[in-house]
C-alpha cells in the first residue's frame, strides 16, 4: 500500500502573514512574480456582524486530478497522493489551466506554474517549505489518514464558535490531497461544492484522442494496401489503351484513305 500524503490548512489558525508564500518562493527558487500560494482574505458585514477569514488559493492535489488527465506530455502526474510537476516536459499548451476546476495552474515563462509539493524535500522525509515555515502551525503535512483525523478533531472543536465549520476536500474529486478547514460554508470562500471533470473531458481523452490518431493511421494503412492493387489495375488499363492507340495509328499510316472511307 503506497503512502497517501496530504496537506491541511487550518483557516482558524492562519494569521495571513504570508510566510508560507515567501518560503515557498525561496525554497523553490521562483522568480519574484511567480507564486504557488496566494493568501487572500474574506470579509463580510460590519460592526458587530463583521466576519473575516483568510483564504488560500493553491493546488488541492486532487486524487482524480483533471489537470493530470488533460496534460498531454506527462508533465503533471500523481505520486503518493500528490500532484507533481516535471517542468522540463512541459509544452506550455495550457490545457491544465482550463481543466482545473479551481483555476490553479498558470503558464509562466513557457511552463506550467503550480505547487510542486516540494517533492525533493518530501522524498527526504521533510515537510514542504510552507508547512515547515508557518509560524502559527496552520499548515500540516503527512499521511492523509493522520491529517484527516487531526482535521476532524479540529472541526469538532471549532463547532462551538463557528457552527458552519467544516473540512473541505474529504470526498471531492476522489478526495483532495489538501484538506481545508473552513470556518464557514465552502460557498463563502468561493469553493465549488462538487467540483468535477465534465463528461466531455473523458470523451476527449478516452475516445476522441485515441480514435483520431488510430483512424488516421488505419486510413493511411488501408489506402497504402489499396494503392498496390489500384496501381496494378491502372497500369493494365493504360497498357490496353496504349495498345489500342498504337494499333489505330499503325492502321492509319498503312492505309490512310481506306480507314477514312471506313469511318465515313
Amino acid at each position: 500500500m503506497p503512502t497517501r500524503y496530504a496537506f491541511s490548512i487550518d483557516l482558524d489558525r492562519c494569521i495571513g502573514c504570508q510566510a508560507c508564500v515567501i518560503s515557498c518562493q525561496a525554497g523553490n527558487e521562483l522568480k519574484d512574480d511567480e507564486t504557488y500560494i496566494h493568501v487572500g482574505e474574506q470579509i463580510r458585514g460590519s460592526g458587530k456582524t463583521l466576519w473575516g477569514s483568510f483564504d488560500h488559493h493553491r493546488c488541492f492535489h486532487c486524487a482524480d486530478a483533471p489537470c493530470v488527465a488533460a496534460c498531454p506530455t506527462g508533465t503533471l502526474s500523481k505520486w503518493n497522493g500528490l500532484t507533481i510537476v516535471e517542468k522540463e516536459k512541459c509544452s506550455a499548451c495550457g490545457y491544465c489551466t482550463d481543466a482545473c476546476p479551481f483555476k490553479v495552474p498558470h503558464i509562466v515563462d513557457n511552463h506550467v506554474s503550480k505547487c510542486v509539493a516540494c517533492l525533493d524535500q518530501v522524498k527526504e522525509g521533510q515537510a514542504p517549505w510552507c508547512a515547515r515555515t508557518c509560524p502559527s502551525q496552520a499548515i500540516h503535512f503527512g499521511e492523509r489518514e493522520t491529517i484527516l483525523a487531526e482535521a476532524r478533531a479540529k472541526v469538532a472543536a471549532l463547532k462551538a464558535r463557528h457552527p458552519n465549520a467544516q473540512i473541505y476536500g474529504e470526498t471531492q474529486l476522489g478526495g483532495l490531497g489538501l484538506l481545508m478547514i473552513l470556518l464557514d460554508k465552502p460557498e463563502v470562500y468561493g469553493l465549488p461544492l462538487d467540483p468535477k471533470a465534465p463528461e466531455t473531458m473523458k470523451v476527449w481523452q478516452s475516445v476522441v484522442q485515441p480514435a483520431s490518431s488510430g483512424l488516421s493511421v488505419l486510413a493511411a494503412g488501408a489506402m497504402g494496401l489499396m494503392f498496390v492493387f489500384a496501381r496494378r489495375q491502372h497500369g493494365k488499363e493504360r497498357a490496353e489503351h496504349e495498345r489500342a492507340a498504337k494499333q489505330k495509328a499503325a492502321l492509319q499510316t498503312a492505309q490512310p484513305k481506306a480507314t477514312e472511307t471506313h469511318h465515313d
Binding site: 509544452s91 465534465p198 491502372h234 488499363e237 492507340a245
Partner: protein, 212 residues
C-alpha cells in the same frame, strides 16, 4: 489548402515523348499549393505531439506550440492570398467546386472503380471530377472548423473552463482526423494517376484532364 487533386478522368494515353503538355497551373498557384503542404504537415506534426503520447517529447519546451501557431497563420492566410493574388481563378475554383450536375451523379456510380485504379467507362467530367468536388467541400468545411476551434484555443486559453476546452479540442481533433483522411486520399490519387508533375511543373499532358 488549395487542394486541387490532379487526377485525370481518362486513362493517360500514349504518354510518350510526343505527348503535348499544357499549362494547368500558373507558378503562383504552385507556390500557394506548396505553402499549404508545408504548413499542413507542420501543423499536423506539432499537433499530434499533443495527441499521441509517444510523440509528446516533441512538445517539450513549448517550441512545437510556437511552430503550430506560425503554421496556423500561413494556413489561415492561404485562401486570402489566393483570392487577392488571383481573384478570378480563386472564384472560379470555388464556383466549379460547388457546381454539381448530372455528370457528377453518373461519376459517383463509378467511384468505387476509380478508387481501385479503373477509369474505364468513366463519364466525361469538367476540370474537376465529382470526387474532387466532394473532397473540396469536405476540406472547405473542415478548414473552417479546425481554424475556428484553433483560434478559440489560442486566444481563449485559461478562460474556457473544462467544458469549453474539451468541446473545442474535440472539434479540433475531429477536424484534424477529417483533414488527414482527406490528405491521405489526395496523395493517394495523385500517385495512383501520376499527377504529381502538375503541381511540380505546372503542366499536365493535354489529354489528361478534360476541358482545361
Amino acid at each position: 489548402m488549395t487542394s486541387v487533386t490532379l487526377a485525370p478522368t481518362a486513362p493517360e494515353t500514349a504518354a510518350g515523348p510526343e505527348t503535348h503538355l499544357v499549362r494547368r497551373y500558373v507558378p503562383a498557384q504552385q507556390v500557394i499549393h506548396w505553402i499549404g503542404v508545408i504548413s499542413f504537415f507542420l501543423l499536423l506534426l506539432t499537433g499530434v505531439a499533443l495527441l499521441f503520447p509517444p510523440l509528446s517529447f516533441l512538445a517539450k519546451g513549448g517550441t512545437s506550440g510556437v511552430i503550430h501557431r506560425i503554421g496556423a497563420i500561413a494556413f489561415i492566410l492561404l485562401p486570402a492570398l489566393y483570392l487577392l493574388r488571383m481573384p478570378r481563378k480563386a472564384l472560379e475554383l470555388v464556383r466549379e467546386s460547388f457546381t454539381y450536375g448530372r455528370e457528377e451523379l453518373a461519376w459517383f456510380k463509378h467511384m468505387p472503380g476509380y478508387f481501385l485504379g479503373s477509369t474505364r467507362n468513366l463519364p466525361p467530367q469538367g476540370r474537376l471530377n465529382a470526387g474532387q468536388k466532394l473532397h473540396h467541400a469536405a476540406t472547405f468545411l473542415m478548414f473552417n472548423t479546425v481554424t475556428l476551434s484553433g483560434l478559440i484555443m489560442w486566444f481563449g486559453k485559461g478562460q474556457l473552463g473544462p467544458e469549453g476546452l474539451s468541446a473545442v479540442v474535440i472539434v479540433h481533433d475531429i477536424s484534424m482526423l477529417g483533414l488527414s483522411v482527406a490528405m491521405i486520399g489526395h496523395v493517394y490519387f495523385t500517385f495512383l494517376y501520376g499527377a504529381l508533375s502538375g503541381m511540380v511543373t505546372g503542366k499536365v499532358s493535354e489529354d489528361a484532364p478534360n476541358g482545361t
